[in-house]
């Protein structure tokens, strides 16, 4: 089956070469056929999607204006609120939760005439790097069903890779868009903190969380950014456009960045698997004939990022997840006699192991007597990490490094050892701590045929240049055109 890019599909629909109903039907048929195996979706809105598609087709047929996504089928990670269907965060505690409103990004997708076909699986509350922490279903990697899709936006990445939607949204707190994008061979962009509204995104680590696109091409990521980026009065951390204007990310996309200076941290890259190192070296070689200069930079505190992250993110999580109290919404224990038991039993019964671990870790780090040693210390280390990146960007336009030390690992390989799982986030975490954008794009395959991702990091609010730099590479290579054979 030919799987079109989001851009090509919406162009075809808008020009009348195909219809939204046709495109949505094709995706729904494919979901029906292979999603029992892939497990990308938690919910699928068949009737609603077809009705919406027919409405959009009607407008196109009547010659009326249509939005930038023109009825293309897209998916949304299940931690973004939708006023239709459930919003579960892949947690048993929210299994039946019906949000009373749409997240801002969901509203923006609808206003651009996207058809939301379903909501995707994830690690419970976005806590994890493999989607194995989902409390509701298992997602596999479309390239090898014995391997994980990455996480926490594993459902979105697998859906895009397997052609179960034209594009998807994910969220990234420590690598949760970029790492599954790399594991599934698709493009994943984490925007600058504050670029995309978090209103209606169920909070995990509020100073780190950011929503972004997972797509088949860099151009599709730019197209989706045009739809979702911008100030939102409902999110006090969303940045005013007077401070950092939102670009038209498609306008200059094909114009290469002249005199591009690429920062490379050799010592850091050497820590990845040989296949990843080799793919990265070859990718850097693609940039050289385009006039790019490679500059060796140093990030002396990079090695402390995981430690700082797992204190800060869990501290924020322990506070954010206090709202799951068995009273206002979500699971309530049937065994609770008093009000404290309503909290402790409801939470104990319905939260998964990783979520419990992180709540406890964060509670400990914030508790009296330990606050300075853990939480305050981590905030100071965070400052050092950001300063490293800011200094490095004085000498280069972007930094290129791996997304993950390995390609997708086997299902079950790291579930017994949470620390090992955390360590696999080494390359992605710094961007969240520093609030800068990062993109993962396909740059090769390992010996077992698993996709490899290359990560490009750039200064805050430079998504336009970041996308152009990624596009320079994509135009020279065909990795992004390979699709897993799913029948």
């Amino acid at each position: 089956m030919e799987v079109l890019s989001l851009r090509a599909l919406r162009d075809n629909i808008a020009a009348g070469r195909t219809t939204s109903v046709e495109a949505v039907r094709m995706v729904l048929e494919r979901i029906g056929r292979i999603d029992t195996m892939v497990g990308a979706y938690i919910s699928v809105f068949e009737e609603q999607a077809l009705a919406r598609a027919a409405e959009i087709d009607g407008r196109i047929a009547a010659g009326l204006p249509v939005g930038a996504l023109a009825g293309a089928p897209v998916a949304v990670k299940d931690n973004m609120c939708t006023a239709f269907g459930a919003t579960t965060c892949a947690s048993r505690i929210l299994k039946n939760f019906q949000a009373p409103y749409d997240a801002t990004v969901v509203g923006r997708l609808s206003a651009a005439d996207a058809v939301i076909v379903g909501k995707t699986n994830m690690d419970e509350f976005a806590m994890g790097s493999s989607t194995e922490n989902s409390g509701l279903r298992r997602t596999v990697n479309p390239w090898d069903t014995g391997r994980v899709p990455g996480g926490s936006s594993g459902g979105s990445a697998a859906a895009v890779a397997a052609g179960l939607c034209a594009a998807a949204l994910g969220s990234d707190t420590g690598g949760s868009i970029r790492q599954p994008a790399a594991f599934c061979g698709v493009v994943g962009l984490k925007p600058t903190y504050g670029r995309v509204s978090r209103y209606g995104l169920v909070a995990y680590g509020s100073s780190l969380d950011q929503i972004g696109p997972l797509t088949r091409t860099v151009e599709d990521a730019a197209l989706l950014m045009n739809v979702i980026a911008g100030h939102d009065p409902s999110d006090s951390t969303s940045v005013c456009e007077s401070m950092a204007p939102v670009s038209d990310y498609l306008a200059d996309l094909d114009r290469p960045v002249e005199g591009l200076r690429i920062g490379v941290v050799s010592s850091l890259n050497a820590g990845a698997d040989p296949a990843v190192v080799k793919a990265l070296d070859e990718a850097l070689a693609v940039y050289r004939p385009l006039g790019a200069e490679l500059i060796e930079v140093e990030l002396p505190h990079f090695d402390y990022a995981i430690a700082a992250y797992y204190v800060i993110a869990t501290a924020e999580a322990s506070s954010n997840l206090a709202r799951y109290d068995g009273v206002h919404y979500g699971h309530r224990s049937k065994q609770a006699e008093d009000y404290v038991a309503v909290y402790s039993k409801s939470r104990a019964e319905a939260l998964g192991q990783e979520v419990k671990r992180r709540i406890m870790l964060g509670t400990y780090a914030l508790s009296s007597g330990y606050y300075d040693a853990y939480y305050l210390k981590a905030l100071k280390v965070r400052n050092l990490i950001r300063t490293d990146l800011v200094s490095a960007f004085e000498r280069c336009d972007c930094i290129i490094m791996p997304v993950a030390p390995t390609t997708a690992f086997n299902i079950g390989e790291k579930t017994d050892d949470p620390l090992q799982m955390y360590l696999s986030d080494i390359y992605t975490i710094s961007a969240n701590l520093a609030g800068i954008p990062g993109i993962s794009i396909p740059c090769g395959f390992d010996g077992r045929g698993m996709p490899i991702g290359m990560q490009i990091l750039s200064p805050a609010f430079s998504e336009d240049r970041l996308l152009r730099i990624a596009r320079m590479y994509e135009r020279q290579t065909q990795w992004h055109q390979r699709r897993p054979d799913m029948g």
């Binding site: 409103y101 797992y310 009000y339 509670t363 280390v381 050092l384 609030g435």
Partner: protein
Amino acid sequence: MKVAKLSRLELTETEVDQFTGQLCAILEYVEKMNELDTADVDPLAHCLPIRNVLRADVPVESLGTQRVLANAPVRDEQFFRVPRILDEGSGA
């Protein structure tokens, strides 16, 4: 155990054993931060210059009781229902 209590998580004995080991290993790793001298470094809680954002003081429509209560596991007409919090005769 104290952390579990503070976290409002009623754990089984097996869970307590398992989590104790895992959390100790994670904390031991995290202590790696102590290799760094941060005496002169300011803490960075947020990457943006965050300010309070106030909107104009104009009333807007709220969700309404029924929609707010729609997801409540146990409700009593227009209230969230919880077990008794105060003792009988406490005067509240």
